[in-house]
Symmetry: C2
Subunit: 250 residues, 2 copies
């Protein structure tokens, strides 16, 4: 009977509100737990902190400061891929950017940088816009039962975006490339960086920058894909390769 009421989707808990074997949901999440799911002391629920922790809890009390849960089980990295994936996506319109965040978060992106490219024709995203995208990412993480919230940012140039990266496997969506399975696989155990141009594509200077950064050119098929479609396709291909890799390692 307990499981019959156990909510299907975890609740969000700020990492600072997890302490020992207790956690404290904020007012919005508490309200959802108590009003929508009709949880009462003794009910169970799951919570996710966005930095890798998932917690099975028993609701202990509902007070002024929100619902308090007693942690009865915890997992680290639940629903996460074996290596981090950073997506550099040429800055694009709001609607497509939100789709990239929604689908990209569900599909395992660790970081998404909406890079203001030469052909993006606009400045990097403001903090308020990134906050809105972060709320979309948070919802996607909960729905998809991942445990890490992707870092969202918006670099002012591709050079700036690349300057912060280390020694990763780097892949560029490029119609002139080859499909992923035919590239010598290399080690997929290291972090992966994916780059997809803005509508209109990267310009020559940016492409030179990517060549210098040793990006492999990956073709995504015989027809033209919009930035958001290409970004998600490349992510799915790498996600699948990582999962296959893991399985072989077992």
């Amino acid at each position: 009977m307990r499981d019959a009421r156990h909510p299907d989707t975890p609740f969000w808990v700020e990492p600072a509100n997890v302490s020992g074997d207790r956690l404290n949901l904020d007012s919005v999440e508490s309200h959802h737990l108590v009003r929508v799911h009709r949880a009462a002391p003794g009910s169970t629920f799951d919570a996710v902190d966005g930095i890798g922790g998932t917690y099975r809890c028993v609701l202990e009390s509902i007070g002024e400061s929100g619902a308090v849960g007693r942690i009865v089980e915890r997992w680290q990295g639940s629903g996460e891929l074996a290596v981090p994936i950073t997506m550099l996506v040429g800055l694009l319109d709001s609607g497509p950017a939100e789709l990239v965040v929604e689908f990209g978060s569900a599909l395992g992106a660790t970081a998404i940088d909406f890079v203001a490219c030469a052909r993006s024709g606009r400045p990097p995203l403001a903090e308020s816009r990134l906050d809105r995208l972060t709320r979309i990412a948070r919802s996607a993480i909960k729905q998809s039962r991942r445990s890490r919230l992707p870092a969202l940012r918006s670099s002012g140039s591709l050079a700036h975006a690349l300057s912060g990266l280390g020694g990763e496997r780097r892949l560029l969506a490029d119609p002139g490339g080859v499909p992923f399975m035919t590239v010598p696989r290399g080690r997929l155990e290291c972090p992966v960086v994916l780059a997809v141009g803005p509508p209109g594509g990267f310009d020559d200077g940016e492409l030179a920058c990517l060549r210098e950064g040793e990006f492999d050119c990956i073709s995504l098929g015989p027809n033209r894909l919009a930035t958001e479609t290409a970004a998600l396709a490349l992510l799915v291909i790498i996600r699948n390769a990582l999962c296959s890799n893991n399985l072989r390692a077992i």
Copy 2:
């Protein structure tokens, strides 16, 4: 100079309006060509007929019945994958269904059947709804430079959807499966059928039906994916495998 004005995206032409080396755009497409792209007699443009034909044209005249183009070059199957891909997607809400059509059309689906499953909780889509989805598909085909319009339908049950299919390679999105690369590849030269359950998943009767239909169970990764996300992920994986396959055959 001519190329500077050549529209980047092809125009839609009904197959019945292609005859010999002339084609006739309808009033909406003609208006777009002439008003938005400021085409004049002698300007070039491309047109796509949705049944595999792409045409490079020189605008000949603009009359009562729309723009008439003289065909100077033609291609068959431009932007298409090597084999047809049918998607059986458990019927879902309008927004996600539209995303499946938009992304699925760009990514190479040949047919999409929104199957009214036991857990879809609604009747199959009405014709008016399919018409709206077809307009979305047509726009996606043009933007993505494919040449075949996917067939859109909505079967009343999974059994009915399966009854119309022949001897294809069949894949089911299933968290209990294995990643695609680890499945013995089999022949990817034959048509592919992908099945993805509705929100809530296929029920036991439907799963039995799929087992009987010899669907291979494909895991899409370590976390839960919404129907629309799973559908697009499975399509991308197969698309990439087909493209890699082709390359090896060259």
